[in-house]
């Protein structure tokens, strides 16, 4: 499946292999495969207990599908996938992953960066950090919104 939104943990290596295998099984020739994985990381030194990710069921899948379709067309991708978790994640867990495949490496890289930039600011996910000092919603970064301007 090209778009998945799930609470279950996933294995990024297995996802990467499955993505590549699915392309090969379909006879898709792509010389370049790029992946990005996001990992929950401590906000301050060692005090992140967990991260809770909320999303908007229905809109999330639609937004991710739209972002993926744009990337596929714009960078002539041979394939693209997005997996994003929601719910409660411990520090160090994989939050999400995108992978792209293209005949040339520049397109595979640009496609993955495009997916990430749009996913950050246009897919309805919200992160809350649970630390030893309390809970707080993560603020959107101006740099994330600015990152969209380059496309």
């Amino acid at each position: 499946m090209s778009i998945r939104v799930q609470d279950a943990a996933f294995d990024m290596g297995a996802e990467l292999n499955a993505f590549s295998q699915a392309l090969a099984d379909n006879g898709v020739k792509a010389g370049a495969i790029v992946s990005f994985c996001g990992v929950t990381r401590d906000v301050a030194e060692g005090d992140l207990d967990a991260m809770v990710i909320e999303h908007y069921p229905g809109m999330t899948e639609a937004a991710l599908g739209d972002i993926r379709a744009q990337a596929m067309a714009r960078f002539s991708l041979a394939g693209a996938m997005i997996v994003h978790r929601y719910g409660r994640l411990a520090a160090g867990e994989i939050i999400m992953m995108v992978a792209t495949a293209a005949p040339h490496r520049a397109d595979a890289f640009a496609g993955a960066e495009f997916l990430m930039d749009y996913l950050k600011s246009r897919a309805p996910f919200w992160k809350k950090e649970i630390t030893t000092r309390g809970e707080s919603w993560v603020d959107a970064k101006d740099t994330d919104e600015a990152a969209l301007k380059r496309w």
Partner: protein
């Protein structure tokens, strides 16, 4: 009309989902009605610079029409990835 709230907007309003009767023509007009609905709503919707809105699961501006809308959602800027 179905309303949805997410993240700190949900926490401030006190619910993630409610159904309202409204004649509001735009999101802005709906926001005005909601602010009058309760102090919690007024607090949640006090600063719209940090509020985003989707009508029928599509991101829109506050001047968007909601005359045909089934569902309107309010939430903070997104922080996925």
């Amino acid at each position: 009309m179905e309303l949805r709230y997410f993240a700190w907007l949900r926490e401030r309003v006190g619910t993630g989902h409610e159904v309202v009767e409204t004649e509001a023509a735009t999101v802005s007009a709906l926001v005005e009605e909601l602010r009058a609905r309760s102090e919690a709503h007024a607090f949640a919707l006090s600063d719209l610079t940090s509020v985003r809105v989707a009508v029928d699961q599509q991101l829109v501006d506050f001047d968007a029409s909601i005359s045909e809308a089934r569902e309107v959602a309010f939430f903070p800027p997104m922080t996925g990835g």
